[in-house]
Each structure stands twice: as C-alpha cells, then as structure tokens.
Symmetry: D2
Subunit: 364 residues, 4 copies
Amino acid sequence: MASPTDLHAAPTAAVGTTPPVGTPIRVGIIGATGYVGGELIRLLAAHASVELVGLTGRERRGDPVGDVHPHLATTDFALESELVGDVDAVFMALPHGTAAQRVPELLGRGITVIDQGPDFRLRDAADYPRWYGFEHPHPELLARAVYGLPELHRAEHLAAGKARAAGTPALVGSPGCYPTATVLALAPLARAGLIADVVVDAKSGVSGAGREAKAEMLYAEVNESVRAYGVFSHRHTAEMEQELGLRGLDFLPHLIPMTRGILAAAHVRPLRPVTQAELDALYAEAYADEPFVTVVDAPPATGHVLGSNHARVFVRADERTGRILAIGVIDNLVKGAAGQGVQSFNLVFGLAETAGLEALPLAP
Amino acid sequence: MASPTDLHAAPTAAVGTTPPVGTPIRVGIIGATGYVGGELIRLLAAHASVELVGLTGRERRGDPVGDVHPHLATTDFALESELVGDVDAVFMALPHGTAAQRVPELLGRGITVIDQGPDFRLRDAADYPRWYGFEHPHPELLARAVYGLPELHRAEHLAAGKARAAGTPALVGSPGCYPTATVLALAPLARAGLIADVVVDAKSGVSGAGREAKAEMLYAEVNESVRAYGVFSHRHTAEMEQELGLRGLDFLPHLIPMTRGILAAAHVRPLRPVTQAELDALYAEAYADEPFVTVVDAPPATGHVLGSNHARVFVRADERTGRILAIGVIDNLVKGAAGQGVQSFNLVFGLAETAGLEALPLAP
Amino acid sequence: MASPTDLHAAPTAAVGTTPPVGTPIRVGIIGATGYVGGELIRLLAAHASVELVGLTGRERRGDPVGDVHPHLATTDFALESELVGDVDAVFMALPHGTAAQRVPELLGRGITVIDQGPDFRLRDAADYPRWYGFEHPHPELLARAVYGLPELHRAEHLAAGKARAAGTPALVGSPGCYPTATVLALAPLARAGLIADVVVDAKSGVSGAGREAKAEMLYAEVNESVRAYGVFSHRHTAEMEQELGLRGLDFLPHLIPMTRGILAAAHVRPLRPVTQAELDALYAEAYADEPFVTVVDAPPATGHVLGSNHARVFVRADERTGRILAIGVIDNLVKGAAGQGVQSFNLVFGLAETAGLEALPLAP
Amino acid sequence: MASPTDLHAAPTAAVGTTPPVGTPIRVGIIGATGYVGGELIRLLAAHASVELVGLTGRERRGDPVGDVHPHLATTDFALESELVGDVDAVFMALPHGTAAQRVPELLGRGITVIDQGPDFRLRDAADYPRWYGFEHPHPELLARAVYGLPELHRAEHLAAGKARAAGTPALVGSPGCYPTATVLALAPLARAGLIADVVVDAKSGVSGAGREAKAEMLYAEVNESVRAYGVFSHRHTAEMEQELGLRGLDFLPHLIPMTRGILAAAHVRPLRPVTQAELDALYAEAYADEPFVTVVDAPPATGHVLGSNHARVFVRADERTGRILAIGVIDNLVKGAAGQGVQSFNLVFGLAETAGLEALPLAP
C-alpha cells in the first residue's frame, strides 16, 4: 500500500528539470506493433516534448507504420527490427519475461525505461515464479523500479526523476489494466484500513488480450457472449494484493463484447460500519487534486473514458447489507497501459503530468 | 429455499393428464408486443400441443404480428386489443403491478395463468411495497402461486397440474432472469447450508430492459461500454433471497453490450472449508437428471446457450482464498423468461417438460 | 439461369420415396468442426428423419462434440478422424478443392453428397482455375451436380431424388452465401430478362470467414468498423453470373461488425421502364408458394431471419432515376449454408422440404 | 461541382487574420446536447484559439455539461437555455428548418455561423421543399453560404474569411455525413467528367441518427443486424448531386451495428475506359496536399479514422467489367459533422486549417 505521503504528493504542473523548449526528449518504442505499441505511437507522436526516434517490431525492417497500424498511415514513421540511434527513454511493450532480460543493458546505456509489461511491477521476486512461471533474471532491479501508478506513487516518480536528472536512468513498471482500475477504486479504503474482505469482479474489452491471432478471440467467438476466465489464477491478482496491502483477494475477470474498457466492481466487507459521508470525504481527499481521477455520484460507464487517460471512481455504502461497493472504470489501453506509461514518463522527465494526455474521452 | 424433496422430483417425460393427440391446449398471450411476448409466440407457435388462439397488445386491433415482430412475418397471427375466445391458459408479459389486478378474473374463468412478470414470485406480501413500490392487490394468491423454477419446484408444479386437471386453474409466477441464473448456480450450495456470505455480480444483455424507447438504451449509448446499475436496489434481490433462504445478499447487475444472455458470478464465502470433490458431488446430484441444466468444467459463456432454454452451471473451490465461485449462464429471454414459462406450462399441463423447448443453442 | 419450368416446380410437402417411419436416413458430416459443420449438427440432430452416425474433424478421434462446439455440449456426439460406418448421405464442409477429390469415391459407394463448398457449384470447368485457382479434378461430375438452390432448381433436385431412389446417388453443390441472397433477390428480374446492368453491393457478418484464427478477424479488428474486401475478385461472382445468366456483374462484398447475416443490395438498370406493379406481380409469382422466401414491402433486416432458413426479398422501382433496387437478406450459416444443404437433402430424399428447418427466426 | 480553381486552393497553414495570441475567438454552440453538440464541445474545448463561452440546450439552465455528456464531466462548462454573452462565432446543431429561422438575426449581430444542419447546404431553394419538406424562409442567404467542404471549396472559405475580417460575418453550411464521404470519393472523377452513371451504396453507424429515444434505434434492435433505409428518398442525395454536378444519382444508405463511421462505396460506369494509372494520377493531384484526405491502396475501414477528422479514399478500375469503384470512409461525427465544422471555422478565422483537429484516429 502506498504511504499517505506518497498519495498526497501533489500532481506536478511543471518541475525544474523540464528540457528547454526546442530540445525534445528522444524516445524509442520496443514492441511497437501490438495494440499498446500503437497507442504509444498515437500518444507520443502528438506529445509536444517528445521526438519519436525509433520504433521496433520483429522482422519489420523499414515497414511504414501504416502497414501495421492503418489508422496511423498519415504519420511518416517506419518500423525497424532493432532500436537504432540515441534515445533518452524507451517504452517497452513486450511479452512477460522478455523486458526483464533487456532492461539492464538499456539502463547501463543511461536510458530511462518505461516497461508496459509486468516484469518490474512486483516487489517480491518470489511472485514471478508463483504467478508468471518464470524466475526473474534481475531481482535486484525490483526495488529500484517505480510502480507506475502516479496517483499512489507520485513521490517515487519525482525522486526517480531527480535521480535521472543527476545521471541515473529511471525504471518504471507500468501497472496492469485490471490493477489500475481496481487499485484506484479501492486505495482510499485500503489506506484507511477499512477492508475486511473484498471481491473484485471485473469486466474487460478484448483489446487487453492483444493482437495475436487466437481462435477464441475471433469476432464470431466474442460477440454476443460474456464469459469469465483466469478463474483464481489471473496474474494481476499479485499486483492488486501488493498495492492494496491485502492477502487472499478474490479476483475474477470477464471478457465482454467490446474492444476497449475495464470496469472493476469491488465488493467490500468493511472492518467497521462506514457511512456514505465518510466515504465521500475519504475519496474527495484522495482524488480532489488528481487530474485523471474523477469521483462521480452515479455508476460510471467505461464509455465515459474511452480513448482517454481518465478514470472514474464511484463508491457507495449499503445500509441494508453493511457492505461497500467501489467501482473504477478506465480505458485499458490508455490509463490501463500506454497513457499511464506516458503519465509516468512525464513525471520522470519533469514535464507537466498531463502533457500529451489532454484528450477528452470520445463518446458516443 | 426449495425443500430437498422438491428439488429431487424427477423431470417429467409425460404425465397422465396429457391431452389426447388432436386436442391442442388453447393458449393466449397478454402482452405480446414486447420481447418476452415475441419469444412466447416464437416458442408456442412451434409447440406441438398448443394452439395459439389470442395475442393481445395495446391498440393493436387486427394488426398482423409481422408489423410488430418482423421476424415472425411468416406466421399468420394477428394482434388484438383484448383477448377473445376461450383459452385454457394465458401467458402474461406485463409491467409489474398490472398482472396482479387481472389474474383473479382469469382464474375465476378457469384459466391457468403463467405470469412472466414479478407479481406472483414473492411469498411475502410485504416484499412488494418494499422492492416494487406497490401494495399487492391480492396477497391471498401469493401462497397459491407456484414459483416457476421447475428445477427447484417441480413437485409444486406437478401438484398444481393435478389440481388443474381436477378443475382448479394453476397460477405460476415465472422467475426473473437474474434469479434464474443465480439460483441455479447457488441452489446446491444453499441447500447444503454452505453459504456464509455471497456476492452476486451479474452481467446482462440489454434485451432484459425491454422494448420501450429510452435514450439510455440506444445503440450508441450501450455499444462499446459497460456499467453497473440498480446499485443496492435491484428488485430481483428479493427473489434470490427468498429462493436461496438468505438475507443480506449483495447483488450488483451490469449492462453489457450484447442483446441476449445473463452471466451471474456468485462469490461465496463458505461456512466451512469445502473441497472441489464435494462441490462436484453436490452439483452432480442436483442436476444430473435435469434436461436444461448442465454442469460444466470450464467457465461457461452466455453464447453457449443463446436462443435456447439451456443453462450452464460452473462451480470451483479456491484453495488459496478458501472461497467458492459459482457461475450460471442463461439466455435471459428463454430460460430467463419465455422458455421457463413454457417449461412450467408443460409441467402444469402434464406434457413432456421439454415440449417446444428442444432447440439447441445457436452459435456462433 | 434456371429455366421457367424449374423455377415453377412446386415445393414438396412429401414425396413417395419418404423412408418408412422408423428407418431414419443415416447421415455423416465431413468437416464438422467449423461454423458450417456446427450448424449442420445443430440442424440434423433435431431432424426427425435423420440419424447422425458420423462426424469427422481432423485429429479429433473420440473428442466429444462439446469440446469443439460448447453450445452442443448436451448432445452426445463424438468426432472421429475418419468417417466410420455406413451412411446414406454425407454433408461436406471442407476448403475448396478438397471435396472435389473425395466425392467420386463416396458416390462410388452409393452415398449421396451434399457439398457445402464451391467444388460442384459451377457448370463450366474453366471457372475453377479462373476464380478458384485450381483445375477441377473431376469436371465430368459438374454436369451431374445439382446447384442446390431449390427455389430455382427444384425440378433438378426431384429428378436427382428419383435417380437416387433408383440407385444412383445424388450430388448437390450447395450455393455460396452471397449468391443465395443475391440470386433470390434478382431471379425474377433475370428470368423476365429485365436486367441491363447490375451492381451488387453486399454486407456480411464475419462468420462467413470461418473459424480459423486470423488476426484480421479478431474481435478488436472487426468491431466498430466496416470495410470492403475481395474488390473485383470475389469468387462468388462466378456463381451469381451463372445463375443469373449475366456477364460483367459488379459485385462488392463488405465485412460488417456482426456475426451472422448477409444483406445483398442489387442496384439494377432495367432494359426498359418497369412499374412497381409489374415488379410486385413478378415477385409474387416467383415466391408466393415458397416456404422460405417472403417478399416484404419494407426494407428487410438480416435480424429478421437470424438463425433460420428464411429469406426476405424486397424490390422497388424508382421513378426519379428509372432504376430498380432489389434486396435479399439471409442468415449466411443457415439459408446461406447448412440450412440450404438440409433443404436440398430433404428434396433428394423425398422428405418434406421444410423438415428440420421449421425454426422461426430469433429476435431480438 | 467545385471549380478546378476552388479545388486547388492550397490548404492554409496560417493566414494573416489570425487573432493575436492571447485573444481567443469567442464561440458559442446552439444545440449542445446531442451527439454533434458533444463532439463540438470535445473539439472546441481543446482548441487553442477558442474560448467556449456559451452552450445551449433546451430547458437546461445551469446544468453541468457532465449531466448530459458524462464523458465531458471533467470540463467545467454548463448549459444554458439561451446563448448569453458576446460571441464571435456560433456553431448550430439543430433539426432541419430551425437554423434557417435563427441565422439572419445572428448574422445581423455580426456573428459568424457554422451550421451543422442542412439549412444552408443547398444552392437551389426549390430543393428544400422537394427533399426536406419545408419552404426555406431565407432563400437569399443560400448564395452567400459557403458549402463547408474545404477540400472542394477552400477558396470560398478564404474569401468568406476575408469578408469576415472586413466586417461581414460568414455563413457556412457544413456538409452532411454521407455527402462528405461520397463527394470526397468521387470529386476527382466528377471534375474530370468521367462519370456516366453512379450507384452510391453507403453504410453508417447509428450515431448519425441522433440521440433522441426511438425504439428502432435501441441496442437490441440494431445489434447483429443490417438494413437499408431511406430508399430512393434520403435527403443527402440532393447535396451529392449538387456537389458532383450529377442528376439521377442512385443513393442507398444502410444502418449497420456500430456507433461511428461511414463507408460510401461508389460504383461508377465511366464515360470512357479509364486505367488505374490515370485514376492514381487524378486522385494524387486532388489530394496530395490535403491534410485530412489520404488516398490508400487497400480498401479502407472506418476503423482507420475513428475519432478523427481524417478521411481515406480508395479508387480502382476493373478491367473485367470496365467499371470504377471509389470508396470513402470517415467518422460521421468528426469529418462528417463537428470536425468538418471546425475545419471551416479555422479557414474563416484565418487559423491553421488543422487547428484543434490534430488528433490521430483511435484504434483498435
């Protein structure tokens, strides 16, 4: 669980280390051909302080980005098999276990790394074999990595930013999509020590499953149907327990027929009776100054945040049952992946936290 | 909670009161213009023992069914404003509070009533003002009504059928869609007295919201989005608590972008540790002979039962957390409404329980 | 183009060759694991005159059908690698070029073949290399094969049925999905020699693309998007030209975000001015007695025929432009594939043409 | 048809009349509660040169924008019943016939008007009773109005901008969604005088039908279905004929199950044989310098432009049939409505044509 200090570090409007105008930060993307890669290009191409200098994808020497991401055909980027040229920072969007092997070399070259995968999210190295099935090759880096949820770890981001400015590149493990929605919904309760027991029942669009051809992800299989998956075994459970300071969290994800969006409904049995007024105060305190988290008073829909880095959080106490319901919604590819990575990047490079993330949600 | 005897009454292949071949049962539908009405026509038009003799819809004198239900344009039915002609049974698909006023007159004419609405589902008359906001006009009928979930109340159906054959028309309160999925998923656990606490998190297609024009149900509002609704207040909670013998059930429904289907995920904290083997035995015992309930060993999808009266149930014990997950999936318009009504009708009229419900699910 | 005689052969209610009750026709399915295979199982399992005795799928020795088609888990069929046991008829649902190689052996064993693929649809052997890229291995069978669109070729079906009863197994090339919708929409105009020029612009759900894992058919790629494909080169063009007796037909198919359904809009420039009254008479004459084709007077939706063997046809003359619009809608997996195959099978085996196809469409 | 000069006016990067930095243009929106209104807010709220000073919606005095457009809840705008305060420009998103009555008063106050409705799109006043069923109350304004498709009418926009700077407010009739997609696809052919005959078969998401509650636009009615509508009578036909200089254009729109996006497939019979090379040259000349129109060499999908002001155009000659196919895709709410309005606004106010429209498309 994030410490109170951490949670209260104010969002940054700008910090002293901002590069002078005219000296863009040189950024590369490793793994630019998937959905998260595409989102990173979309966001970073429009980021005023960024120069995208290298996009990599396997076996993609010289291919225009539009061949892989037709919606980006109007940009003039090309994909390369290997990252070429000097970069200040790299975003990685790779299968789990892959980034862990490549990061030390990048850090050694002074390159800040924002890893969109899970390889640097967990603090306890033992969680990797337990939940991901691989031994972490560089457990010594886990303590150094910042968990890239700025709303809970802003101070750590800023500290990493200071170190970066002093010559030590930063390493951010950007959170999973389900943990982002869930932890934002529950953090105020967890911090207040109110959770006796919690069931997290989440619903996700299918883009989280990635772009690889799998028969079970065909349109005809997904459309007009809903199913649970990852029963008792979803890897994101470890992150949620780590960030909420809980054990035995009951997490169940579902696949629903939509492309983007995650809704996490957290059903909480509190340690003591809690009033709605108390909840309102807790959540207002936690999120009043957050640029991307809005506490709402009607059940939020994922469609309210589509295509944006925004999150909506809703919390209600039930007098009849004595329970609390907390709901968080995000766009899994933005606040749940690429956008969140950019938010961390901004903090680490001393930019306005919202730089490149100003887009309002798209509806309907 | 259904008594064990009740639960174990064998499904009927045929019972002595079957009308002789060539004498179809004359059936009317009151409220034939909505989605449940359309499903009733679809199912009853193909039912070998039924003659559909009257379909009513407000202000619809003489309109061909195809004007309201274009998919049924090849049938030659017409809609009337009032039910005309003699009928043996009536299916009612009306807004809550409406059927309750009309049923006594129908029963008085010797007509068996299958009410697809909520007016005869609850045993405690006080639940109507509490959950539905109206005083029940005929509370004396609540004890007589059969809760139309044959898997739990088959013996009551058969008793009502005997009484019907002896001259007393039957009254069935056909279950709500969420309770059907939820109660089927949890009944074996409830009967075994294993539930300490349960969270029911359900996901529904939008056809359950009916056919009335509401801006919030427009395609552009529902598509590519998910949201919770009815927080702490959904009326179906009362039914679930009644049928499971629980109080303080935490029920949260969600609207997801699909037309048909309900998935109810029940997260159970058991009163004592339970093994998977014990669960398997409990569910096999409960459902081995049921024609419409299949216990499966992978998480079921609503797409596996689309367009059919089938339900799939899945149950798993989690060693790590000590919890139990039970999932039920149905097509909300068939097993959750019209199909279930026909199943009750079959029992009450001494027909094979599966008559008119033989269709396999449609996939993809 | 079908001859007038052909088109006017009356639908069969029953023909003398019906097997005696109690002697079901033994049927096998080769290629039972795809979407068309699943539909064949769904339909034939419920067909009163059929015993399904063999289902094959590659590398599937003994697998329960429910492993491949979870919606069919309540049936007790299993898949085999090879067809075993004696069968009277075989439905084939295989990639193009495959059936052509296996059919002679099956015919030689006296087995009637309903081929759901394209290998026996075209009369001119030269069309196979031109449109499909393979030389037909048995061009001598093309003249013998019946084009399985009963509404245009009923007399041929009945003749093949007579021959079958006399010992010569039948061979049916069941039409493609686009040609079914298109030819039904245009046949009355084509027969009347009214078409000067026609543009066929069609829209299809994605199930027609089959069940193979392809990245471009992932849910996230198909959802919320529409695109044309097969520009100037779709193989079904050959069938349409053959059946309509036209050359130079302009056919453009689109993929739209839905699972089932085809709508073909045919924009006709007529050879001479035509009135709506003339069109109404032409279409009424063509389809008044057809059990599966209904001429409607409002633009039909694919949702009006979902899950059924029904087609809807709509035709309108435009005084302003002098053009004619003809629209046909079907469910591509039923009337556009498996259902149509069963319809042909029924005719060839002397059964009621609608046997096993009685299901009304599913809506919403 | 636009004159060649018109078509060739270069896109503006910036023009001398740009207001000095620090003096934003004051903009109001009349009709801010619908889908186009929401898009206008989304775009203009992020427009660097705009200050949104008034949003109106019927009976909405003081309501926060988030009550009507939950995705915009993080903005601090409120809705008013009437436009209050001084504005330099007004966007109108009103039902047809309504804007025409209010525009003279606005122009009289020196306010530039961008009308997103049809009231100022047509040049011939007789087209209003013919296609829209109302007599235009101010036909004298039709000649003054600019048809707001900058790719064809850039010079007129710039002239209106000059007049505006000199004190005469501008009036733009922003094009319909179908005409935008269609005219962009066909303009190079029309300008070259190559079209003998054209069939335009278009497919649209449902957001174009607006936000009013209509039963036929319910999710359950639209999902998993496609249908044609507006047969021979769609009002946008008039615009297309006007802009392409054609008569008797055959236009057929379809409603498909998606929220945003229009694909127009134009099937052209050319006046003389045309080669692909000639088409490539024509389209390159027309669009090479256009910031929002990209000529692509594979059939474009609407998903390639989602949420953006981009259009994709594709053109192919078919040797076999001698026909030409031209396809245009847009997001109907952006390039087909609000975004196009902003593009016109930019030109008229001497801003960079792409100001506020820089967002890349969102995919998947």
